[in-house]
Subunit: 338 residues, 4 copies
Amino acid sequence: MIVEMTTGATPEEIDGVVQRAKSLGLNIQLNFGTDRMVVAILGSNTGQLSTDIFAVFPGVASVTRVMKPYKLASREFKAEDSLVFIDGIEIGGRRIVVMAGPCAVESEEQLMEAAKAVKESGASVLRGGAFKPRTSPFSFQGLEKAGLELLAQAKEHFGIPVITEVVDPHDVNLVAKFVDILQVGSRNMQNFALLINVGKSNSPVVLKRGFSCTITEWLTAADYLLAEGNNQVILCERGIRTFEDSTRFSLDISSIPVIKRNSHLPVIVDPSHAAGHYSLVPAIAKAAVAAGADGLLIEVHPNPKEALVDGLQSLTPSAFARLMEELRPIAKSVGRHM
Amino acid sequence: MIVEMTTGATPEEIDGVVQRAKSLGLNIQLNFGTDRMVVAILGSNTGQLSTDIFAVFPGVASVTRVMKPYKLASREFKAEDSLVFIDGIEIGGRRIVVMAGPCAVESEEQLMEAAKAVKESGASVLRGGAFKPRTSPFSFQGLEKAGLELLAQAKEHFGIPVITEVVDPHDVNLVAKFVDILQVGSRNMQNFALLINVGKSNSPVVLKRGFSCTITEWLTAADYLLAEGNNQVILCERGIRTFEDSTRFSLDISSIPVIKRNSHLPVIVDPSHAAGHYSLVPAIAKAAVAAGADGLLIEVHPNPKEALVDGLQSLTPSAFARLMEELRPIAKSVGRHM
Amino acid sequence: MIVEMTTGATPEEIDGVVQRAKSLGLNIQLNFGTDRMVVAILGSNTGQLSTDIFAVFPGVASVTRVMKPYKLASREFKAEDSLVFIDGIEIGGRRIVVMAGPCAVESEEQLMEAAKAVKESGASVLRGGAFKPRTSPFSFQGLEKAGLELLAQAKEHFGIPVITEVVDPHDVNLVAKFVDILQVGSRNMQNFALLINVGKSNSPVVLKRGFSCTITEWLTAADYLLAEGNNQVILCERGIRTFEDSTRFSLDISSIPVIKRNSHLPVIVDPSHAAGHYSLVPAIAKAAVAAGADGLLIEVHPNPKEALVDGLQSLTPSAFARLMEELRPIAKSVGRHM
Amino acid sequence: MIVEMTTGATPEEIDGVVQRAKSLGLNIQLNFGTDRMVVAILGSNTGQLSTDIFAVFPGVASVTRVMKPYKLASREFKAEDSLVFIDGIEIGGRRIVVMAGPCAVESEEQLMEAAKAVKESGASVLRGGAFKPRTSPFSFQGLEKAGLELLAQAKEHFGIPVITEVVDPHDVNLVAKFVDILQVGSRNMQNFALLINVGKSNSPVVLKRGFSCTITEWLTAADYLLAEGNNQVILCERGIRTFEDSTRFSLDISSIPVIKRNSHLPVIVDPSHAAGHYSLVPAIAKAAVAAGADGLLIEVHPNPKEALVDGLQSLTPSAFARLMEELRPIAKSVGRHM
C-alpha cells in the first residue's frame, strides 16, 4: 500500500502512519520525494487491508492499494486455468459449453419442449428458473419447488444436466438436491449470506456479475465461494448498467480478456440479459466466443410470445439452432469447438 | 402502455397485439398516425405488466410504459405523507431525525462511548452494525449476535432506540427482537427473499437505495415491504455508483425532491457512505436537509483511527456535535427543526 | 408523441395540450383510459420536437417520444446499407477495412516505419494524429501542420490513404487538403460548429462516438454531417465511460448490431482506446469482427516504449501482423474477408 | 508515480523502468516488498506524465499516479481562494451570486421581460444563449449575432452584466465584445481549441463541467484557461450522466466540497440543466447553497410554455422570486448572504 503524505506533513504525522503499520506487523519504507513524503507499506496481506486504515491519519493525502483485494480467485494464487466438471462436461477447456433454456420454468410442456430443442441443437446444459427474483412483488415469482421437480424430470428424461438460480441462503441444500449447477444471480452477487452457503455446498456454481460491480469486486465475491472450499466456480458476464438505453444492459466484452489475465476461473457470457432483445443475441454471442469466453448462457423459449418472463430476449428453437450453427466456425477460428 | 408499430406493419400484425391485449382483459385504442399505427393499451394494472408482452410481437417497433411499475409506494395510491413512529419519535414530520453511531459494533466500550456522544449531541437513534456485508471474506464480518446484545444494552442504558442491518432472511426475527429499526443495506435492496421476510416482521425498516438502482426500482422494492403489510418504511439515499472517483459514491441529491413528488414515504440521507471521507460529510449533510430530507444517518466513531470498518468516513464525536449545531439554522430555514 | 395526463387532469388542462399541438400543425387523438387521459400527438416530424413543449403544461404527467430524434441517419430514411469509397476502398461492404498506425505522428522515421509495417500486414488506411486533443495543456499537443505533411508524404510513398483528426472548425479545409478521411474525435462528437464545417467539406469522415453519448445522440450527431450534404459518414465505436476501471473505457459491443438495425451507415470499432492496454486489443478486435463491424481502427507503433502518446495501448508491428492473421478466419466465419 | 512490478520480475525488467525514469530526469527509490518490487518515481512534474510511460515496460504490473494531473487550478499551487470580479460583483466571496435568465435569447420582448424580472428579484447577472449547441440539426440553433446585440441592449438598459455561451473558437472575440462573461458549455469542456482561445481572451469565464468528466478532468481543463493567462475562471457544476432517468442529469452535490478542498477557484451550480424539470429546481438550488456553492445559474423564462428551448426546466418569474426569498435564510445559515 502506498501512503502519500501532504506537502508539509510533520515528522509526527509521518510517524503516526509508520507506527500504525508496525502495529499491524507490516514493513514500511520511506521515500523522500521532492515535494512530499511517500510511505510504502509492504506485506503479503496488504490487498485485504482497507486503505482507510491509513487514510484516516492526519497528514495523509491519499492511499493507494497496490495488491488486489481478491486472492483465491487470482492467477497469482493459481497460475493454471481451472476446469469445472459437470456430469462429464468440462467447462474451461477447448469446448465452448452452451447452457440454454427458458428464463422461467412455466409448465411441464414448456420445459420439455425447450429441453428437447436445446439438446438437439447441441446445448450441453438446460437452464430454467424456479425461484425468480422479480423487480415487482406483483410479477410472476416462479414455480419454486414444483419448478425444481420439473427440472429434475427434464434432466432424467433427456439426460442433460440442469442449472437453476438459488436466491435464499436456506434453500441451497434443497436446490442442490435437484440440479447440477447452482446459479447466483446478478442481484445477489454481493449477498454474502447466500455466497457462504453456496460455498459450503460443493455444488458447481455459476456466479453472475453484479450489474454494477467491478471485475475486482466480482473476483472478490468469488473468493467467498472459494474460501468455503467450493472450487467449482464459473463466472458469468451478463452486462453492466450504463447510461446507454438501447439495450437492457451493456455487455462488457472486455471483461473476458481481463478475467483471463487476472483469474484462473472459467468465464461464460449471457448475451440474452445484456441485449434484452432477441434480435441482438446472435451478434453478442458470436462476439463472446471470439473474445475467448468458455461458454454461453442463452434464453430459449418454445413460444416467446407466451413467455411469462423475458420473452423479448428469448430465442425461438429455430433461431437457437441457427445460432449454434453460426457459432461453429467462430469457435474453430479461435482454436475451440462447440 | 403505448405500442408503436413499425412503418408498414400489416393489419395481421396489429391484430396480434390487439388480441393479446384483449386476452389479458385490457382495453385498446388505435391511433392512425401519418407514418405508423400506435396502439394505446389501457387498464389500471398496466404498470405491473412487462413491456415484453407486446414487444415480442412481429411488427412492433417499441413499447413504452405510461404507468409506473410501483403502486403501494406511490403518491397516487396514498396522497398524504406517511409518518413512521419509533419509541415516540416521528419520522417524516417537522423534526429532522438523526441516526448516528459507528459503522460496526466493535466492543462494549466503543459502542457505549459512541452512544453517549451521539445522544448528547442530539441524535435520536443509535446506529451500529452487527452483521456486516463485506466485499472480501477476509475482512471483519461483525460481532453478529454479540453485537445485537451490545446494541440492546446501549438502548437500555441510554434510552435511545437502535437500528442495525439484517442480511439473512432467516435472521429477521432474531434481529427484530434486539433492535427498533431494521436496516436493509444497499447491496440487498433487490434481495427479495430478505424483503419479504422483513415485510412480514412489522418492524420499522430503513430501505437503503441500491447503489445502482433507479428511483423507480427503489420504490418498487418498497412495494415488496408494503405488500407484506409492513407500512413502517423509511427510504435512505446513500449515493449511486458513477464514473466519478473522488468520492466513494455520488450522492443523488435530486432523489429527495423526486421521492417527495412520487411517493408518500419518508426519506433520509446517509452522507457518510456516499462521501467516503469525513471531511465531505458536513457539506453533504447540510445539502440533504436543505433539499428536504426527513433525517440523516451518520457514522460517528469515538476513535476513527482505530475503527475496524470505514474509519475514514466516520466523524469524531466533536465533529458530529459541531455538525449538529450547524444543521440547526438550515433545518429552520426550510421550516423544520432538529 | 404520447402525452399522459395526471389522474384528475381537468378538461381545460387537456385542452391546453390539444391547442398547443394544433398550433404546431399536429394531429391529436384522445385515449380515455380507466384512470387517466392519454393524448397521442401525430405527425411526421414529432421526432424532432422536444418533449418539453408539452411537458411544461399543467396537468401533464409525462411525455414520451415515439419517433426517434434522428432522421437522415436512420434505416427508415434509407433502407439499404450505405457504402463509403476511399481511393478504391469500399467501407461497409464484404471486406473488413483496417485503419492502423500510431496515435500521434511523432517524426518522419516513426511514421514511415509504422506505415510500412501496417501496409505489409494488410491494413488499408494509415492513421496518425497531427492535432492531438489532450486532457492537460502540459502534454504533447501534436506536430500540427508538420504532422499533416508527414501524413501526405507517407500516403504518397506507400500508396495508402490516410486518416487524421480535425479539432478546430476552421482547420477543416487545411486538413482535408492533406488527408483522405477526417476524423471527429470522441470529445468532439457534439462539437456542432466542427460537425457543420466537416459536413460542408464533403470529405469522408469517421465520426467517433462520444464516450458518454447514447447511440441515439450519436446518430443524431451524424444527422449534422448528413444535413450539410456529406454522406460519406463512417461511425466508430470506441468505448463508453462506465464505473468499470480495469479498462480505460467499456467497449459497447452491442452498439454494432443496434447500429446495423437502426441505421444505414457503416460502423467500425477502435479496440485500442477502449482497452487502454495492448494485451486486451486482440480479443476485442476479434469480438468486433464477429459482431458485424465493418472495420477496425487500431493503434500500432514501431516502438511503444518510446511513444509520446498512448504507448500502452499500441500494438507492436509484429503483434499487429499476428492479429491480422487471427482475424482472417473470424471474418470468413461471418461471411466477410480481410 | 508508483510502479509495481509483477511477482518474479527480473532485474533487467526493473532496470528498464529505472533507466526510463532517469532518462526523464526523475529520481527513483526501490522498495523490496515481500512478494514484489515497487519502484517509487519522484519528481515535481510527475502529475503531468502519463502512466503509460512506465506501464508499457515488460515486468510492470501497474502504475499509479500519486500527483494530480492538474497544477494551476490546485490548492497546492495557490492556497487562498480566488475571487473573480465582474462589474463590481465579486464571485467567490461571502455573497451568493445568482445568474438567471432564459436558456435562449428568443426576442427583444422575451429578453427584456426576463431581465427585468430577474433583476427585480435580486439576480446579479443576466444569462441568455445566442449560440445554442443543439443535439439535432433540425432544432432551433439560436439568434447568433442578433442575440448578442439583444444581450448588450439588456445590459445597457437594466445595468446588469450578461453571460452567454461561446461555441466556436473563432467567435471568442466577437462574443467577448458584447458580453461580460463567456460560458464554455458542458459539451465543450474538452474542446481544447475553444479553451485555448477563451484562455487568451482574458474575459471572465464560466467553465461548465462536462457531463461525463471527472472532477480531476474538469480542473485539468481549467488549467488550459489558466495556462493561457486567464485567471478569471469560475467553475459550474451542472450534473453528470448516470443511469438514473428521473432527472436529465444527476447533480453531483459532493463536487462542491471536493472542489473547495482541491482548488482555489470559485464554483457555482446550475440546478436547471441537472433537474430538467422546474419543480425540482428549488430543492437542488437550496442544497447547492447549503453545500457551499458560490453562486447559482438558473433558467427563468417569462412564459415557459412558449419557450423555444428547455421550457420545462425554466422557472417563471414569480417562482424565481419565491426561490430567491427562500434562499436567503439558507445562505445566512452557512455564513453567506444573497
